[in-house]
């Protein structure tokens, strides 16, 4: 056995079992723990006591940046850098600049959302102790896991193991760091 495991992993066969166990882990005051699920389980965020994701704020910043980029690009290129009168129309107007700025708003929002989501999640991360667990493949398929990390202040190998058993966890195993 490794000197200091990464944590304990417990198996749950069904979504409701996982859900109720997650509520118990949350209520027991654990902080560094996670659920591994093959699909987003409806309501599990609440059962885990997770806060609302901060991704929307990053998206908003991206959207604002996109709109400003569009408007200022069209204003600078046509109105400042190379002034060319076309059809007697003004050199710059927010009206004709709008469609392009609108599209850039969406483009920048999309990039901000995805990059923001990946950064917040710490992805890409091609190595993680959880991925070394023998049965983790089923966590992508049809099984649910709860992982409590050893770095949690309340973590105690024996007590946490008993706690997970009581919460309904099966096949509790230590994860190699």
């Amino acid at each position: 056995m490794a000197a200091q495991p990464y944590g304990l992993i417990a198996t749950f066969e069904t979504a409701p079992e996982l859900y109720h166990a997650a509520e118990r882990v949350r209520d027991a005051g654990y902080r560094n723990w996670d659920c591994i699920t093959p699909f987003p389980v409806h309501g599990l965020d609440k059962a885990m006591g997770l806060k609302r994701s901060i991704v929307p704020r990053i998206s908003l910043a991206g959207g604002i940046a996109g709109f400003i980029t569009g408007m200022s690009m069209i204003w600078w290129t046509g109105g400042i850098d190379y002034q060319l009168i076309v059809g007697g129309k003004p050199l710059f107007s927010p009206m004709f600049a709008f469609p392009v700025s609108y599209e850039l708003t969406i483009l920048f929002t999309a990039f901000a959302t995805i990059i923001g989501m990946l950064v917040v999640n710490g992805l890409p991360m091609h190595y993680h102790p959880v991925l070394k667990y023998d049965h983790i493949r089923r966590g992508m398929d049809d099984t649910f896991f709860i992982v409590i990390e050893a770095c949690d202040p309340r973590f105690n190998l024996a007590n946490t193991k008993t706690f997970l058993e009581k919460a309904g966890g099966k096949a509790i195993a230590e994860l190699e760091a």
């Binding site: 699909f39 969406i106 929002t109 049809d142």
Partner: protein, 479 residues
């Protein structure tokens, strides 16, 4: 009413008073399939031996695609004059085909974004393939305007890249708006599709790893980015997915609006109308659903996906086709009405000429395919007959191609001055190029169904009754 009994305590008081009826919910995955059945079914398509029909189709598709390659090679080597454009019709099949393919793409975004926001759970079975269809359709669409610029090696002039001429693009032009709309659309569609794929790629990574196929495990693993199904990740992922759906909805509406601005902002009778943006968007969704049906019904039959693409899904798609087809029919009528009501003789002439002029044959093909064909979907017997639905979906595709042809060519062929009137026919090079794009599209789609999961496994699992943490009372569920 299992739900009402269980949740009586936390239900709003008004519910007890009005006692709502328990409406049956449509079953989205039939025969009560398990999570692992879904994984096996979808991954089995990728992991199994390449079927013979796939090779036959792939080689055939490559052959058809070579027509586009031949057509474009000849165009680039010779000049844009090899297309049948001549005064007054300087814009014909290239823009017709562009709008046709872009329109087809729109159903994919509609399914993945708008139906996601409207919480239409039936989208889950078809959204992956429909999004793939969007991307491949945009690829096909992009070929035409890029090569219509003539000297294609200058196509980068479309983008505001500093260059030695120090001239910038004319941002007053709808054609420049189109550059941004279509490139944004293509990019966001790819991003949206990829984000949806991440959890499923992780499934494939682990399966190939377990099967000992390290090369494929590595490749899928690279793109899965180390996804491990963590709920802390799912929480951010779901939020990101929702935002992408939220921004794709105005995107898809704006793209075809801007495509319609290419025409509506001009002064040509028959183009210069305010009805164009909603009419083009409805037409795009109509044609896109036609194409989704054309693609998904054979896919369902070949891979035995009847439990995942159920009759309910086909019904829904037929009904959307019916609704949007009827909107398109209304728009045709409204164009005529406004042409008459405005008392503008040029506008009036443009429309009478469409229906009874030299291009009347195209107009009536359009009307019969787009207005009459979808009306069959009122009947349940028609919707239940998969073969018939497939045939009708082909008519929708044909009709929507002719719609663009009618709008673009009839208006141009009858200019303001009768002295400049003309009649446009495509050259063989144009026919080759367009015919070949079906091959390009098929090649890409065949590669997609061979190497990527055709359905989003995680999303499918999430709509099964056993995914519900409150005890699997699926039928009476109120969430």
């Amino acid at each position: 009413m299992a739900y009402a009994a269980e949740h009586a305590a936390d239900a709003p008081a008004i519910l007890r008073e009005v006692n709502p009826a328990a409406l049956p919910r449509a079953i989205l995955v039939e025969n009560n399939r398990s999570f692992s059945w879904i994984t096996e079914k979808i991954c089995g398509i990728i992991e199994g031996k390449t079927p013979t029909w796939w090779w036959v189709c792939f080689i055939l598709a490559c052959f058809v695609a070579s027509f586009t390659v031949a057509g474009i090679t000849y165009l680039v080597a010779t000049g844009v004059g090899v297309w049948g454009h001549a005064n007054p019709v300087n814009w014909a099949w290239d823009i017709v085909n562009f709008v046709f393919w872009i329109g087809i793409g729109h159903a994919g975004t509609l399914i993945s974004a708008i139906l996601c926001l409207l919480r239409q759970k039936w989208r889950t079975s078809i959204n992956r393939a429909a999004e793939a269809m969007t991307i491949f359709a945009v690829v096909c669409a992009g070929i035409f305007p890029v090569f219509h610029v003539g000297r294609v090696w200058y196509a980068w002039y479309l983008f505001p890249i500093p260059n030695s001429n120090v001239i910038w693009q004319n941002f007053r032009s709808p054609l420049e708006w189109d550059v941004f709309a279509v490139s944004t659309y293509g990019t966001v569609s790819v991003l949206f599709w990829y984000v949806g794929l991440i959890p499923d790629l992780a499934v494939l990574r682990d399966r190939f790893f377990a099967a000992g196929n390290r090369v494929r495990a590595f490749l899928y693993g690279m793109f899965a980015m180390g996804w491990r199904g963590s709920n802390r990740h799912w929480s951010n992922y779901e939020m990101a997915y929702l935002i992408l759906a939220g921004i794709s909805t105005p995107l898809v509406l704006s793209v075809h609006t801007i495509v319609s601005f290419d025409f509506a902002v001009s002064l040509l009778p028959g183009w210069h109308t305010t009805i164009f943006p909603p009419y083009f968007v409805a037409g795009a969704i109509f044609s896109g659903f036609g194409m989704v049906l054309t693609l998904m019904l054979p896919l369902r039959a070949v891979y035995g996906l009847q439990d995942l693409i159920t009759q309910y899904h086909i019904d829904c798609m037929c009904k959307v086709t019916l609704a949007t087809g009827t909107i398109v029919g209304y728009a045709y009528g409204m164009e005529f009405f406004i042409a008459w009501y405005s008392t503008n003789p040029y506008e009036g002439f443009a429309f009478v000429n469409r229906a009874f002029g030299h291009y009347a044959w195209a107009y009536w093909i359009m009307i019969s395919c787009n207005v009459i064909t979808p009306q069959f979907f009122w009947f349940k017997a028609v919707r239940n007959n998969t073969a018939l639905v497939w045939i009708l979906s082909i008519f929708v595709n044909v009709g929507m191609w002719f719609e663009r042809f009618v709008i673009i060519v009839t208006s141009l062929a009858r200019d303001f001055l009768p002295s400049s009137w003309g009649y446009y026919s495509p050259s063989i090079v144009e026919i080759f190029t367009f015919f070949g794009t079906f091959g390009v599209f098929s090649v890409l789609f065949l590669l997609f169904i061979r190497f990527l999961p055709v359905m989003p496994m995680a999303e499918l699992k999430a709509v099964t009754p056993q995914a519900d943490v409150h005890g699997g009372h699926g039928a009476a569920d109120k969430h």
